[in-house]
Symmetry: C2
Subunit: 183 residues, 2 copies
């Protein structure tokens, strides 16, 4: 396995309210030099969680939410930022109450995914929430989200529908299916 | 299902060599207004492919590649941009030859994933490559990539290793496993 490239120089080359872009001057162990750009997590970011809320061992709760990046409604798993001073478990329970209308008595981390590791720093903690109870918290959502129960043994229909396209949701749903019914 | 928010205004708020960030002023169907930011595909982008190269019906070829966004080597599926004038199938075969050292006689699209639809426009075409033959093309990689065969019936070990974290690779590998052995 190669030694990691040396970072010769790094600087912020563009910035907006939410995003910061950094240029990296790299030297690989074979001497090759490249400039890479990467998207940094926002200043003061504490990471993010993606939540797999299980109504029972076979049924996951999806939400339908407007997704500004692709300008359409997407069916997928709830997710959100971890606030300052919050643990990933606390952020999970808060977002679950805000977006899905449930709290969870049992929450555990299944995995952590990178989003596009070649050009994004971001990582998302994948949280499994079980033993749910109805509770709603008012979040900052511009409109109420539609909640849709879906059977884990029917993921092919969901992914073929074209309504659930996000790689993180797809990967987490497969992982949950394996968790409850190992192959 | 709600009517899609109206886009009242959009403008580029930051730009670098590879990235362009756009601010969207939105009005939801209930009257709520929000400003969202999203990362646009680069100007002149023709999309991207992620490739599942199968050595046989049970064995996929992974690559180990330095990932600048997270500053570490990652194990995952080959991917790359579609060049101007190329189809997704042609880009798949070219990237496969450049990154993995094989061509494919059979290529089909399994799916298309969004990366982070709430704030990114990007979509990746998920391509299954079969009936491989050795052929190497010189690409723009700064160093040769290590190629690692992996059995699709042993994905848990791969994902638990912490070396394969990208949601797109994880989702595509599960999807390939289901394709060859439907549950």
């Amino acid at each position: 396995m190669s030694e990691k490239p040396k970072i010769l120089n790094r600087k912020v080359v563009a910035q907006s309210r939410l995003f910061q872009i950094e240029a990296l001057d790299l030297e690989f162990s074979n001497g090759a030099k490249r400039q890479y750009e990467r998207l940094m997590r926002g200043k003061g970011s504490h990471g993010a969680v993606l939540i797999i809320p299980m109504l029972d061992n076979e049924t996951v709760l999806l939400i339908r939410e407007y997704s500004g990046g692709v300008d359409r409604y997407e069916l997928g798993l709830a997710k959100g930022k971890i606030d300052a001073g919050e643990t990933a478990l606390e952020a999970t329970n808060r977002e679950l109450k805000e977006e899905v209308g449930y709290g969870a008595r049992k929450i555990q981390q299944l995995s952590a995914f990178s989003i596009a590791p070649s050009y994004m720093e971001h990582t998302t903690e994948i949280m499994l929430a079980e033993d749910l109870y109805p509770e709603r918290l008012l979040g900052d959502e511009p409109e109420e989200l539609q909640v849709i129960p879906w059977k884990l043994d029917n993921l092919a229909e969901l992914f073929n529908s074209g309504e659930c396209t996000e790689a993180r949701s797809i990967a987490a749903l497969y992982m949950a299916r394996d968790y409850f019914k190992p192959v």
